[in-house]
Symmetry: C2
Subunit: 150 residues, 2 copies
Amino acid sequence: MLFSKTSAYGIRAVLYLSMQKGHPFVLIREIAENLNLSYHFLGKIFQNLSQGGLITSYKGPNGGVRLARKPEDIFVLDVVRVLEGMDLFTECVFGLDKCSDHFPCPLHHKWFRIRKEISEMMASTNFAQLALDTNTFDFRIKTVSVGTPI
Amino acid sequence: MLFSKTSAYGIRAVLYLSMQKGHPFVLIREIAENLNLSYHFLGKIFQNLSQGGLITSYKGPNGGVRLARKPEDIFVLDVVRVLEGMDLFTECVFGLDKCSDHFPCPLHHKWFRIRKEISEMMASTNFAQLALDTNTFDFRIKTVSVGTPI
DNA sequence: AAGTTTTAGGACTTCATTGTCTTAAATGTA
DNA sequence: TACATTTAAGACAATGAAGTCCTAAAACTT
């Protein structure tokens, strides 16, 4: 899996917020239930997203979290940067400190090309686009029955 | 880092064997020292490479490990397949079981394209090529002094 | 002011990966 | 046969990521 769980959950959560009509504060508990994630763990992720300036939070009744800006202006890369930093995009495939453009390891150039595509993909994909592609997709892991009980 | 440490070490070790003249049995201890890796951990990795048919091992004096076939016929993907399986190349970016070509998550298609490039890169890079690019690169993490002591 | 709701923050647990250690098995040598 | 050398294999320990829990702080309600 390309992302850490933290990033995967964070992206899914930001996507959830991106799909709200208007931009109301949404309960972290609601998001956790709908995405079938641990409430406490997601709370921690939102702490970081909030410190990173991607979402705004509000305590107390009618509080919750919401996007700090429009979905069009938040990119997948923003979430990844806040939640795991940019090491993923600068580190050697082998994890070697001394590998660099100037002194490349044997996979350096090939990996550089692919890594660039990954970061360009993330930098060019905003949450408004993602939200469009999400309408047909149920992000919950456990599928819930929606039929009328007999 | 794209690879797990296990895969990174495995690739470096196979590369080390690929750079030998002839195809002698080489001590795991020697490889571990030259690549600055844990001997025991590398031993375990070689167990798997051996079970996976990529290298041949021989016990006792003058024993060690060597490639099971020519470097030209071993590809990076072979090592990764043996050491971590192919999950990396089939799994959803978000880790969602139900995501599939037929029922794609919102990043499915973009990630599919990149994942394909990664696997094609690994499937087309053999260890003879890598060895050529390694002649100028010192794979040891700690650099050792090679000057004549005064 | 007292109590409720909600996020914030820190301490703690669990789990998978990474790394270490010890013993067993295979092979060679004297 | 006894002993040395080397990989094989399994048990164990350390680390870091993932996940849980509890208390504090902020905001609202009465």
